[in-house]
């Protein structure tokens, strides 16, 4: 079972001009794999996840899901948690289950269990506005995980966390993933995070985005993130940084929109 993204392009057209977000993106990812995507801001990472999720259609190219009983369940953890403010945390987490037609007691039970594993047990009946930024982000992860998707798409899910909490949640995330091993596409700005979590890191170029290179961290599984340091990834970190450097420098210079 694998996902293949084949020569995808995507542009956004508006009266203010056309923005070419993705140019010819091609990669393959396999069932059970944890794939990270890094790239300069605005290179189309969120757009790519939306395309794989089916929320957007590509202008050209093809996205194929091979081997799953069609179509595979794809769930997205959005860049801004995107919890519904009008639902309690438990109802938010149970939202996907509710849409899947699972009955009330069952879905509540599963949502609470998921919240417990994310350290949010006491907040089930609170509303999102009563949570901190990091807690909301964790609830959003729980909402996606609890539906047991075939493909889990995560858009910088740990962005709002401080460094310590982030490390703990990263480890939690890995152990959640190990249990069912869905295919994960994980977007992050943090090169180290990408290397610590993923089997492969796809490095994208600046806009319009393309997959420029692939880096495999020299780490086995299971991984111990909090127990020890990982000096062995330094080389890969440097490699990715060198790939990104030029684009990042270009990015922070004045830009033009092509029309």
């Amino acid at each position: 079972m694998h996902l293949s993204v084949f020569h995808i392009t995507k542009a956004f057209i508006s009266p203010r001009g056309t923005i070419s977000a993705l140019a010819d993106v091609t990669f393959t990812a396999f069932q059970g794999e944890f794939v990270a995507l890094v790239g300069p801001s605005g290179c189309g990472k969120s757009t790519l996840l939306r395309l794989v999720a089916g929320l957007l259609a590509p202008d050209s190219g093809q996205i194929d899901f091979t081997g799953w009983p069609q179509p595979p369940k794809r769930r997205l953890v959005f860049q801004d948690h995107a919890l519904f403010p009008w639902m309690t945390v438990a109802d938010n987490v149970a939202f996907g289950l509710e849409m899947d037609g699972i009955d009330r007691t069952d879905r509540r039970q599963r949502a609470i269990a998921q919240l417990e594993s994310m350290g949010l047990a006491g907040f089930a009946d609170h509303y999102p506005h009563e949570l901190s930024g990091g807690m909301k982000q964790r609830a959003a992860i729980a909402r996606a995980f609890v539906t047991q998707p075939d493909i889990l798409l995560m858009d910088e899910p740990l962005r709002a966390l401080d460094a310590q909490t982030r490390l703990v949640i990263q480890e939690e995330l890995l152990s959640l993933w190990e249990r069912r091993r869905p295919l994960v596409l994980y977007v992050t700005h943090d090169i180290e995070e990408a290397l610590l979590l993923a089997d492969r890191v796809l490095v994208m170029s600046g806009r319009p985005g393309q997959v420029r290179a692939e880096v495999t961290p020299p780490l086995g599984r299971p991984r111990d993130l909090t127990g020890r340091a990982h000096p062995e990834i330094e080389e890969s970190k440097w490699q990715i940084w060198k790939l990104l450097e030029e684009d990042v420098r270009r990015q922070i210079q004045p830009q033009r929109v092509t029309s």
Partner: protein, 248 residues
């Protein structure tokens, strides 16, 4: 301190009015002293006719708001989720909304005849537009990301309406309801002045024609109280229905 300011100002104003009316600085026929109005009000509250009139007014108001507001709510949701429907109906709504509903009364009379149904229809028409426009705006201001979440998690049809569209637009819908009730109250009283035998508006008209101005003012006080009560009620309902609005 701030809490006592409005009632203090009110009392001072009433006292001034009382003195002016009793001293003959203003016409006691057209501006009867508040004490006389209060006595009339108390007498009214003890009469069967008054309660029957209030009942008629409330019936027309409630029926109109339920029918017109309900239709506005439903159409607001539908126009909010369906682009074709929105494109088709938006110009019609924009053209009909600003028409003074009272001016349509003769036409409604021709269609529905003289009776309760034509009165309720006009009140319903008044409640319809604010409810429709606010609910529609409420659906349209739902965060685009929330629509994406709904789509990604497979929400469609009734579930989408119940879990996303309805609660997402509810704050604006409640604003619409408040405007609908206030507008409907105004139009109910006006219609009753035009054509009813019973109701607060009819009482006002009769009081004016027979120059019993104390009755007129006492009825106005009741209508003011009605407006205050309905707004209070809606405010509590809003707090109850929007527990997530604790913080912006």
């Amino acid at each position: 301190m701030e809490r006592w300011l409005p009632p203090a100002l009110l009392l001072a104003g009433l006292a001034l009015w009382e003195v002016a009316a009793r001293a003959g600085w203003i016409s006691a026929l057209f501006f009867p002293p508040p004490s006389a109005i209060t006595l009339t009000l108390l007498r009214m509250l003890g009469s069967v006719d008054f309660w029957a009139g209030l009942g008629s007014t409330l019936m027309r108001l409630t029926a109109g708001v339920l029918i017109g507001g309900g239709a506005g709510l439903l159409l607001g949701w539908l126009m909010g989720v369906s682009r074709p429907l929105r494109v088709a109906l938006a110009p019609l709504v924009a053209a009909l909304h600003p028409l003074p509903k009272l001016a349509l009364f003769p036409i409604v009379l021709v269609i529905l005849g003289i009776g309760e149904s034509s009165k309720v229809a006009l009140v319903a028409l008044t409640a319809f537009f604010p409810m429709l426009l606010n609910t529609l705006a409420g659906v349209q201001q739902i965060d685009p990301t929330h629509w994406e979440v709904a789509a990604n998690y497979g929400a469609t049809g009734g579930k989408l309406l119940r879990r996303v569209v309805l609660p997402g637009s509810l704050p604006m819908t409640l604003t619409g309801l408040r405007l609908a009730v206030n507008g409907a109250l105004v139009v109910t009283i006006a219609i009753e002045m035009l054509s009813a035998r019973q109701g607060l508006g009819a009482t006002i008209w009769l009081a004016w024609q027979t120059l019993r101005t104390e009755d007129l003012y006492a009825t106005l006080v009741v209508i003011g109280g009605l407006g205050l009560a309905s707004n209070q009620l809606l405010e509590s309902a809003t707090r109850l229905l929007l527990p997530w609005k604790g913080k912006p």
